[in-house]
Symmetry: C2
Subunit: 281 residues, 2 copies
């Protein structure tokens, strides 16, 4: 075997993996029961119990909040909507601070309705991150730009490669303390530059690591990810590249699977994650 | 308007746009009837009438064969299967020569069944192209590597960016006379490096230009492309980048659309292509 199995203490759960059947409180309890050490909630899920209660529940369950997901959809058709996205991301930063989250994950946003101006849209992302960065610094919450798979460029996120995300980091945050990237295997596994860009990122820019798998027979773009080991991604190899440059953070399972894993008993899903973390990651 | 409409004489048809309803002979007749000046057949369609008859029909209809599609799926699990792909691609080169095609389009091939070795698979592509390049030179048929959208990396083609394709060109064909790229808007429109890589390619490496559109509401990976103008790609902008570096070749419509355009009367499809070429490209 090329690499030894990962430290089981680094297993974390992105709530999107089971939130179809469980609320946030159940997820946190489930994580503790299955000996996950970290949890990464989505912002809309926080509303169920409030951010302070969520923080108390997670920390009470011995969980690190590895990241808060859901900020940064900056591009919009008019100035008012763009300002609203900036204000909303500032509130997300405050929530992340309350949760003591290791980072706020930004998914960048996509082309405004009716727009074909991809370059201009990407400039809105750059400007939006620039607008919230001081607030993130004051709050002590690093921002993690998550490159999304190019198939999401039109309607979810127009930062689509690690190189592009790191260009934004270098442009906006030269010191490298406040802005970094979230590496999600599913989004970046295909990239011929993946290893080189992980090296370029280095430890200080690698703020989060998300895992799932790419199913080769998949024809559906939105929520057809595989459980680790069921697809074609060489997960141990990607992890070894992350570790080579010093990444020591969590391995956060994010399996969006409307046809399979979302339908199962979440206790079965979490038990499977724990096994696959050791056998396939 | 940023750019003037394209020269209508440059309109060409990739047969995949209408082959669900028409055979190759009907497609060629349809192209001539709708004043397309070029056609790009798929290799499996040639078998219907034979390559010599296809050449005669195309040239008789006043059509340039802009490319032959379907060679180059080199990666395979064992040596024998890899050799078979090389032999098959040599025959495709011969067919392209008979057709006087401007290039043979290579779609690279994907991970062999059960493999997670993406780096090794890409090496098989590199080696396969290397094996057939002399044959292509002798036959006077340039090979066009077509980068496929990253969502096809697992099961169709593991060359996924223009940069990656051009790296192969530079590695295998320094003089730049025998190996180039096919730029398909649908596959590359998202790429932050698109303009820079078109510039890098330059006229000599830009062997084909395929057009369709990306539908933002699409959730289906395989055959849900839009007609030019119905999606989010700024087609005139991409064409202007091609023309800035001297590209003067055809604009080849390739709309794979199982739910919409494949179901329509091909005469309607071709008439629509002709209008959209002028209004949306």
């Amino acid at each position: 075997m090329r690499t030894s199995p990962p430290d089981p203490e680094l297993l974390a759960l992105n709530t999107a993996t089971v939130r179809e059947k469980w609320g946030l409180r159940e997820i946190i309890a489930g994580c503790a029961r299955h000996r996950f050490r970290g949890v990464s909630p989505w912002r809309d899920g926080l509303a169920q119990i409030g951010v302070k209660e969520a923080a108390k529940a997670a920390h009470g369950g011995g969980l690190t909040v590895t990241g808060l997901c859901g900020g940064g959809r900056f591009p919009a058709a008019d100035r008012r909507a763009r300002q609203a996205a900036i204000d909303d991301t500032r509130r997300a930063i405050d929530d992340a601070a309350t949760l003591e989250a290791r980072c706020l994950v930004l998914t960048a946003g996509a082309l405004p309705e009716g727009s074909k101006d991809l370059t201009g849209t990407r400039e809105m992302v750059r400007d939006g991150i620039g607008e919230v960065l001081d607030h993130a610094r004051s709050a002590g919450v690093p921002l993690a730009i998550e490159p999304l798979h190019p198939m999401y460029c039109a309607d979810q996120g127009c930062v689509n490669t690690l190189a592009q995300a790191l260009d934004l980091c270098d442009l906006l945050d030269r010191r490298g303390a406040s802005l970094g990237v979230a590496v999600d295997d599913y989004h970046v596994w295909w990239d011929p530059q993946l290893r080189a860009q992980i090296e370029r990122a280095g430890e200080k820019r690698l703020l989060a690591f998300q895992i799932s798998d790419w199913l080769p027979a998949s024809r559906e773009m939105l929520a057809d990810r595989g459980m680790m080991g069921d697809g074609v991604i060489d997960l141990p190899l990607v992890r070894s590249w992350m570790e080579e440059v010093g990444y020591q953070g969590f391995h956060e399972v994010e399996v969006l699977s409307s046809g399979n894993w979302w339908r199962r008993d979440p206790d079965e899903v979490l038990a499977t994650c724990r096994v696959r973390h050791q056998t396939a990651c």
